[in-house]
Structure formats: C-alpha cells, structure tokens
Symmetry: D2
Subunit: 286 residues, 4 copies
C-alpha cells in the first residue's frame, strides 16, 4: 500500500446538558456542552467499514447524560475524567479518550431562577489512557478593556510602517486562555476561580507597553497563584479602538471618541511555562 491511516479519532460533539440539583426549594444548575472523542484500534472501520470496534457516538452521548445522573458534576474536570476513564476501561479497542467541556455561567435571580452570565465560558480538556490522564483548563469569551495605562512605541519602522507611536491608548482583548495542570490532585473549582482572578488582575494591574507584556504578566500571575498549573497558553486578539479624527469638523479628540474596529485585528499568542513543568505528554491533544 502506498498510503496508510494516520492519526484518527471520532466521537460526539456538543452534547448540551443542563443539570438541576434541588436542595429543598433552592436549586443549583450546571450548564454544559460536552464533546467526547475516542481513538485506538480503529483501522478496520476506515479500511473496510467493519464497525466491530466503533462504539456509536450515540452511545457516547447517552453515557454523558447517564453519568451526569449517576455521578453528578462536581466539576467539569472531574466529570470529564470519569467519562474518559469509562470509555478507556470499558472498550477494549479504545486506547485514548478525549473529553472537552464548556461550562456556561448563570447568575442567581432567586431560589430557582437564573440569568445567563454572558459570553464567558469555562472550558476543560481531558485525555485519558489506560494508565495515565492529563487535564487542561481554560476560559474564553472574557472581554476586558483598559482605557488608559497602555502605550505602544519604540517599534522598528520598515518601508511599510505608517503607524504612529502612541503613549496612551485603549487596550482591549477577549481572553482565550488554556492552562495545563501538573497533577490530578487539584481543587478544580477553587483553582478555576483563582486562575480567573489572576488573569483579570494581571490584565488590570499591568501598565502595558505592549499586549505581549500584558500577556506575559497574565500568565505569570496564574503560575504565581496556582501551584498546580504548569503552563498557561494565551491567545489575545488586540481589539483595536481607533481615535476618530475629528479635525475635519473643527474638533479635537482628547482620547475620548473611538471607533471600535472588527477586522483586521492584532493577534498575540504566547505561553508562560513553569521551569520545572513536567512533560506535556498528551495534555494538549484533547
């Protein structure tokens, strides 16, 4: 044969699950989007259509809902670990399970009433094999803005550079963060709260000479605050706010009126990693 099956996996994406826990009249809700993906001895279905190793994606979906009932969802990390462990241990052909989680926040309005907390999403990615497991966490959709304490200058100017230097600009971004845990012994929900707070305070409290500097400060702050995190990966779009030139209308614009642009946007991607971080293994494969 001149070619072969390479890396492959399959699963059910985006199982939308809401769990309501009733403690007397006071309810708690968990709102999830769960995706599973399995890999292992799957060559036959690709080559011949023999599905004897292919646990249906429909069964994976059913497992998600049944496990939520049977075991609850103490945290998305724990729930994902349990799901992943189940697939690896119960299906001989499955050597690796990936589970991806999105959790949507809700604010309490009453004992059994809630309002969606916006675009911010807590995420997790879990990889489980027969003898190991890796957990990453994450956060997306957190849009933040500093209206001052941001500069950008001292950059090289080539033949295509027209950008003026600025000593006071708006800095805004939509945080897309992922972090890798070095252990499975983590108070997952408390850790998430601390990481989120570290990202926000890192953004707010950094006097910024570049979005890269802010990125490094945010990632560093997470590593300082949460010892179980080995590495933080950040992708920060620079959501440009351009001061509008009002001079044609006889007006100045003392950094008051801005056009919020859609595209293009700067995109700053970077990693802050603990010097003694363990090998990443399959952590990022989910």
């Amino acid at each position: 044969m001149k070619f072969s099956l390479g890396a492959n996996r399959y699963g059910k994406a985006e199982c939308r699950l809401v769990r309501v826990v009733r403690d007397g009249g006071r309810h708690e809700i968990t709102d999830l989007n769960v995706s599973t993906s399995l890999s292992g001895d799957l060559e036959e279905t690709h080559l011949t259509g023999d599905n004897s190793a292919v646990l249906p994606t429909d069964s994976q979906k059913n497992t998600v809902y049944a496990f939520a009932r049977e075991f609850g969802v103490p945290s998305i990390e724990e729930f994902a670990l349990r799901l992943g462990g189940h697939f690896v241990s119960s299906q001989e052909a499955v050597h690796t399970a990936n589970v991806r989680m999105e959790q949507y926040g809700w604010n309490r309005l009453g004992d059994h009433s809630f309002s969606r907390a916006g675009d911010e999403v807590r995420t997790a990615g879990v990889t489980v094999t027969s003898d190991s497991a890796w957990v990453t966490g994450g956060l997306t959709g957190l849009t933040v803005m500093n209206t001052t304490d941001s500069e950008f200058h001292g950059f090289p100017r080539d033949a295509y550079t027209t950008l003026p230097e600025t000593h006071d600009r708006i800095l805004a971004t939509a945080v897309d963060a992922k972090w890798r845990f070095s252990t499975l012994d983590v108070p997952w929900n408390a850790a998430y709260a601390m990481i989120r707070e570290a990202l926000i305070s890192g953004f707010v409290e950094t006097y910024s000479l570049s979005l890269q500097q802010t990125l490094f400060a945010m990632g560093s702050r997470v590593l300082e605050k949460v010892p179980e995190v080995a590495e933080v990966r950040l992708a920060l779009p620079n959501k440009h706010h351009f001061p509008v030139d009002l001079s044609p209308f006889g007006m100045d614009n003392p950094n008051e009126i801005f056009l919020a642009a859609d595209r293009p946007y700067g995109l700053i991607e970077g990693t802050v990693v603990r010097d003694d971080a363990p090998e990443e293994g399959l952590a990022w494969s989910s």
Copy 2:
C-alpha cells in the same frame, strides 16, 4: 408608468462608537452601535441617479462620531433624538430620520478597567420628523431560566398531538423586549433600569401555566412600574429543556438531567398595551 417608488430610506448601519469620559483617574465608558436612516424627497436618486438630495451615509457616520464629542451621550435615547433632529432640520430633503441604538454593558474592574457584561443589549429606536418625535426602548439577549414553577397542560389535542402534559418543567427564554414611550419627558436611564427590573421580576415571580402567561405578566409589570411606557412588545423563544429518558439505562430522571435543544423552538410574541395609550404614529418605524 406602470409602477412607482414606494416606501424607502437609506443610511449608515452599525457605527461602532466607544466614548471614554475621564473624571480624573476614574473613567466611564459608553459602548454603542449606531444606525441612522433618512427618508424624504429621494425619488430622483432612485429614478435617475441624481444624488443632489442624498447626504452620504459616510457623512451620517461622521456626524455620529462628531456629535458624541460635541454633545456627549447622556442616554442613547437623547443621543438618538439629537442625531435625528439634526438630519431633519439641516437637510431640506429629509423629512424623517430613524436612529437605532444598541448599547453594550460593561462591568467595572477598576478605575479605568472594565469587562463586557455579556450578551444583554439595551436598544433604542427613535423617529424624528420636522414637528414630532417618537422613542422606543428595548432589551435583547437577556437569557433567563426558572427551574420550576412552570407547568403546561390543558391544551387541545388534535391528530398531530403527542406532547405529554407536564406539571413541572424548566422555563427558559431569551428576552427580546421593545417598549414605546408616550412622552419625550422621561428620565431615560432610570426608566431603563426600572423596566429591566420589571421584566426580570415578572419572569421570576410568575408561577407559569404557559409562556404566554409569563409574557403578559412581564409586560404588565413594566406598565405598572413605569408610567411613561405606553406599550410593551415581547418576543420570547421557548428555549426547550427536555428531560432525558434514562430508563433504558435503568435510571429514573426526577427532573434533574435535561437536554438543552437548539431548534426548533416555540416562539411566543405578544403585546401589552395601556388602555389610554396614545396613537403609535411612527414610533415603530425605526
């Protein structure tokens, strides 16, 4: 001629404007999406391409930014009225101006730091003619859920009805509300806050036998609380949460595990109107 130009208008849609007010080190931000639309003696450009009556949409956009600098944005309703009034009074061909506003919320993180407050959007629609003006307000993207105190039964059953009756269900919706003011003498921002609160408390506090009943309660509460509102229009998608049948797996499901469905969805639309409401005039044309 066998056919003619009917209703028409033109303008600039979606001018994204962020205004920063600096009171010493403490900043306030206003984040808007502004759309303008003008109508009047515009037949010539349609029939012959003679643009002598067509103030460019680019000029309309410039006006939005310049007016924000010159007059500020005390409320989206006032800002829209000022813009609309300007176009009608300064352009002879323009008889009617529509201005639509979206305002995005931000939470304070620090003196000059903020985070986006989510999908909820405050809206306004203003229509101005040479001798009159109308204002509507609105709110979209407020997603709310009651995990109990909702029933649905007693409905007719035809040949295509398979739905079981339910005496305890999740009720969730994304509130899309518009309201018409009967006067221009309104404390706009305070009124908005009261209307928003009335909509939420109407949803939370209504023991619901149908989403229609909830809708009417929400609209009624607005009219009770805010005398300047003549009419409330609500469009409430019924964001279905279906209890998952876990019996194939030997489990019960005491209203704990739900599948949050995307499509199709119920859509309930209704109006609550004050008995002595003034004529709507052009209020809804924006």
Copy 3:
C-alpha cells in the same frame, strides 16, 4: 383594567425538514426551515394560563413533518398555504396562521449526491385566515458585485462631509428581497426562477449612479417580468470596498487593491410597487 393584551401570536420556529423523493435511482431533495405562528382567541392563556385554545407548538411541528409526507412539497408557497389553511380550518380558536419558509439550495453531484449551494436562501411568508390568504416570496444571501460601472457623486456636502466623489467604484451588496403576489394562481417555482433572474440582471445590467438607482432597477425588472408580483421590497447593504492608499509605499492603486470592510455599511431600503397593486391586507404580517 388599565392595560390589555394587544397583538399576539405563537408557534414553532425553525423546523428543519429534509425530504427525499426517490424516482428509481435518481433522488430529489427539498431542504426547508419551517416556522408556524397562530393567532386568534388566545386571551385566556395570557391572562389566566388556561391553555384550552393553545394547540401546542409541538403539534404544529408534527404537522409540518406529517404534511410533508402526506402532501409533498411542490413549492414552499403551496406547502405553506396548505399548512396555514389546516390550522385555521381545524382549530376554532385560530383565526390567522402565518407560515414562514426558508429553502436551502443544493447542487446535484450525482443521482443521489448533492452539495449545498451556498448562502442563498429562497423564502416565503404566507398568511391564511378563514376566508383569505396572502403570499409573499423572497430571497436572501445572494451576494453580488460589479467591479465597475458604478459612480457616486453630486451629493450634498454638509459640515460633516469628507467623502470624495468617485466615478468608478466597486458596487457590492447582499440582496435581501421580498415580494408580494397579487394572486394565489401562480406557477410558484417558475415565478421564483424568473424573479431571481430579474434581480440579478437588474443588478448586473444597470450602470449605477447610486445604489438606490440599482435598487429601483432591480425591483422594476421584477415587476416587468412577473405580472403576478404586485410589489418588491429590497434591503441592500452597501458592502464597501475601499481602495487602499498605497502612496506611502510609493505605489499607485489604479482601482486594483481594495479593503473589504465589515462595519459600518450603507443600508439602502426601498420598495417598487405596481400602480394597480391590490391592497396589501395581511400580506406582510408573516
């Protein structure tokens, strides 16, 4: 009572239905998004939660699928008329039914293989009462561009006008068209094809001095070609393509390199109506 229930309706939105007709080995597919909405004697459910007049939206959805099996889908207009007629005639409380249709196009790849034809969507809106019916058709998502034969000049210049005149520009828009039929005796599919062709040729063949002129030409062409159409409503975003200023890099730009902008955009809305068009009645209420 100080306030009352005003206009209201309810239904099931976005029933996604694919129908496959097999004529031997050669298949035909119809891909629809169907929304129904009923109104009538619905006050009780709003005021007291008495649902005895509220045919469930779930039953409406079931009817959509069952009718597709029983009667087929000769055209979206006929299918909508049949659905609307059913609800009005079978439910005593229902006085008016609205049915909205979206149809997605597929290109043939083989006897039973197809590829989605893109963003273009054929739409219909039908309103049925006990003794009358109205049909509108429509089309959205058809994005077209002329790379020349478009000018824009001769417009008024106020204090906020900075736009230069142009004698050669790109004109691009995403056509959003709706039309009202004056009769129910229409060869629906053939009429749609002719209307679509008229809109496109009206765009392509008009030397344009303003997007308004193009709009009127497009609408007029429909009325010229399809006698059953009483009125055409068009909303045409001006998808701006700005020539990039390359002079800082020592280059000219002879209308070759453009930046395709997202927001803001011009928005031109207009109607062309036949002089002897019948009253619109409830045609636009769907």
Copy 4:
C-alpha cells in the same frame, strides 16, 4: 526565575483584500482573508515591553496590501510564500513567519459582475524560516450529502447503546480538509482543483459502511490523484438526518421525511498519509 516565556508569536489576523484585474473590459477578482504571524527573538517585549523587535501588526497589514499590488496573487500559496519570505528575510528578529489564507469563490455573472459562490473556502497555511518553507492547503465549508448508499451496523452495544442499526441512511457532512505538500514545486491552482474534485468524488462514489470509511476513501483519492500531497487531514461532522417517526399519525416513513439536527453531531477526524511522506517539520504550525 521560576517560569519562562514559551512558544509565542504575533501578527495581524483577517486582512480582507479584494484584488481586481482588468484585462480590457473583462475583469477577474481575487477575494482573500490574510493572516500573518511572526515569531523569533521576541522575549524583550514580553518581559520589559521593549518593542525594538516588534514590527507592528499594522505594518504587516500594509505589506499584505502592497504586495498584492506589486506582485499580484497568482495563487494563495505563492502569495503566502512571498509574504512569509519577506518577513523572515527583512526582519532580523523574525525567525519564522506563518501566513494563513482564506479565499472566497465568486461565480461570473458578466464581464465585470460576480456572485459569491457560497460557504466553500479555499485555505492555505505557509510557514517560512530563513532556510526552509512548508505549504499546506485546505478547504472548508463544502457541505455534501448522499441520500442513500450509506449504512451503519455491526457496532458494539454497551449498556448505554440504544441506537438501532441502519442499512440505508442519509450521509451528510461539511468537509473540513487540510493537506500537506511534500514540495514547493506545485502548480498550486491546478492542484487545488484536482484535490477538490478528488474529495468530492471520494465522497460521492464510496458506498459507505461508516463515515470513517468515507473519510479514508476521500483522503486516499487525493493521494492517488495528486503526487505532491504527502498527507490529508479530514474533520467530518456527521450532520445527522433522523427519519421522523410518523407512526403516531398513522403514516409510514419510507426514508422520505428527515429532521436535520444541529447538535450534537458525530465528529470523525482522520489522516491519510503517504508511506514515503517527508517529515512534517513546521508544516502544521501555521
């Protein structure tokens, strides 16, 4: 220091560029979305905010537009290679450049008139270092459907399996494909056309016992037809079409009426790789 800067890069994302080439009255257009990303000696800006190595993303954007004017866009792969080469060779601090391209298709309506060809997007990802370069191509948004010749059975049944076996189902997917070239000596546009055709014919002509089997057939066909491709990566969502149970209404459903579901969906990911494929190097890093 207890932690360090890891992998990082920065650039300008989503530069929307339309190029019009005029050959007399007959025009050709190229519609692109270009993203650049640079990496190298960028530690200082992260640690201290010293931007002396940070060519502004605004300059990168300007370069995109200027190069389109100076060198044209013979293919997205060539254009990306030229851009990447420029950044690496002209900026001492830049060791690696990534360029990502999206190209939107347009159908010809006339000599200088076009209509957007739908959701299908041609992509490319290029990585350039001082002494090497890698090119990947891709295609997204091609939605295809077979209305028969698809089965799914013979799968394992665990405690959570309720799915019935099927011997005739609809198979639909939205193709997301990427491929890696083993050489830079490729007739890029001709290769793209052949790869696209191979993917489509692989989908259409495969009698499918699983979407995995179809995936492998599609990837294999590409490798058979285009020798310059070393590897094909496919992500195929299983866009479920569920036959509607019409039996409650006294009807059968001989695979005629389907509900097109949104979420969840199966997701099949797989790679087909040539046995003598060269090392991937940085090919997938863009």
